[in-house]
Symmetry: C2
């Protein structure tokens, strides 16, 4: 049995807890929290909830620690710190800072002799690995990534910070015509605006100036100003009824040419449709925990990514089962 | 530079030759044929075409030999034979015989200290690896594989063997309603007939009994009798004009449930649309030759599949480039 620890207990951690229950070769050893453990109730019976500060005391009881913190402030410190005592897994997703995060985690994990997998999930993660396969197979081609339809938590938070906004949910939506052109292998040049639209559902505070809110959203740099954005004001009841989930998904598509005269077009598409973004991300983390355990048992140390995991190491199946049923 | 040898020189081999030209870290060292080498002209200038019997003399000049034989009769003997002198790659695709082929190749490759990758291409190959990723991430779910729209060479050959048939091309076509239901995450039970239809274009010999040909096709066991099959008789000119390519493709889809009460449906889809089946298969083989070279340099020996290749080993990019551009 692979003994998993969970650090932090939010949406992602609950997803990890659920995924562990779906994998018969894994057991949840403990959940750690920076809150008062007495106030945290988890789903799995008879599993301790402990203070994050006490994690090191459990280092002989946990094979892999899954770090369920946020990329902005938690993981940059958390992953190197816990890599000193554990094999660790994180979902660090700030693309621009991945090289720096990799270096910091690698130093800690090499020093302690642990393995650390960073930036796992679906993007970065499964989308990344599909970009890699596709670009290795079709060296002359072009990659496209479309996100959605799905809830962007970062964009939803940005709208919630606008004065007069009580609640907000932002959906990222691929432009159907752009997706069709890419799927047809046209390899178009697409601007940011041509690839995605943004749709915001907003609950305004009583008496708020909705025109001003709409204007503030549509002109917000980085988040909205480069997109065609639609803003719809709804009631708190509608929000709770229709927008309580965290669906997401998207597509990675590469079209390339092959043949002596580059006469053939070949298109590779990977598409996810997810009812729950955090539960799916968690399911990826848990499968990768299995690989971390195996690589650690072989003496591998240091920081790695999904690119370094041979697919066989993700699966509970034997080689014979894989050859017979999956190949 | 990775020095590649090509054994056999048909459609797949020509695709390999084209793919090598697209990869700047590779060079074609020699082409081997069982025919008279003087009668084989290849695309690449200044590369020798040699008799297959002389291959062993080139063993110090070739890093990876790509075996471009057929699965029915060539590869079962060819792959173990050449694994004695070379790191080898094949596209063995008779699913039911993969375990036996693996065992024979593994014995030869372990004895000689070479690495052998078998059953590479898109199915088996990329489809297999997507089945593995998806089943590891969503342990509670159901896999579907749809093939087409594309030309099945095995089915085309079967039609050509019917008396009175001068030429034939068979397209395998997924049933759109079945594909839609699977994409919606319904996890339907589908019979063979409900998943695919078959469309045959046939050039009849002069005076042939077309009704008898159509009947012979539609009732052919294993190949057609379990499917709704359409037969269209066309002229040799139409065949040459509209059906000279070998397009193919298909989709691997897994839908699974996550959450404590299995309340969320998550769907993973991998889809290929290929203008040329042999050129795309060849592109996979060539990317895997890079991995074979690297694993061999690390001392790995024996038979392996795409499940054993860490994705990073397929790519010519450095770790830094991968972290910055693909992750």
């Amino acid at each position: 049995m692979i003994r998993i620890g969970i650090m932090g207990y939010g949406n992602l951690a609950r997803g990890v807890e659920c995924a562990i229950a779906q994998n018969p070769d894994m057991v949840l050893a403990a959940v750690f929290t920076r809150r008062d453990p007495a106030g945290v109730s988890i789903l799995t019976p008879n599993v301790p909830v402990l203070s994050a500060d006490k994690a090191a005391e459990m280092k002989d009881d946990i094979d892999v620690m899954i770090l369920c913190g946020g990329s902005a402030t938690d993981l940059p410190a958390m992953t190197p710190r816990f890599a000193r005592d554990f094999n660790v897994i994180d979902s660090f997703d700030t693309h621009a800072n991945i090289p720096a995060h990799f270096a910091a985690v690698n130093a800690a994990a090499e020093e302690s002799g642990h393995i650390a997998f960073i930036s796992l999930g679906w993007d970065p993660g499964l989308f990344s690995v599909n970009r890699l396969y596709a670009s290795a197979i079709l060296p002359e081609g072009k990659d496209y990534t479309f996100w959605g339809k799905g809830v962007s938590q970062g964009h939803s938070d940005a709208v919630r910070r606008i004065p007069g906004v009580a609640d907000a949910r932002q959906y990222t939506i691929p432009v159907p015509e752009a997706l069709d052109r890419v799927r047809r292998g046209e390899n178009p040049q697409l601007t940011t605006r041509e690839k995605h639209t943004r749709l915001c559902y907003v609950v305004a505070e009583e008496g708020a100036d909705t025109a001003a809110i709409e204007q503030a959203i549509k002109t917000m740099p980085n988040y909205f100003s480069d997109y065609d954005t639609t803003v719809e004001f709804i009631t708190a009841e509608e929000m709770a009824k229709n927008h309580s989930g965290l669906p997401h998904g998207g597509s990675v598509i590469r079209s390339g040419v092959t043949g002596w005269n580059k006469e053939c077009t070949q298109t590779i598409e990977y598409t996810l449709k997810l009812d729950s973004n955090p539960q799916f991300t968690a399911s990826v983390l848990v499968a990768c925990a299995r690989a971390a355990m195996r690589l650690s048992a072989r003496g591998v140390t240091g920081c790695r990514t999904i690119f370094d995991i041979a697919p066989a190491d993700l699966s509970p199946l034997s080689r014979e089962e894989m050859l017979a049923h999956l190949l």
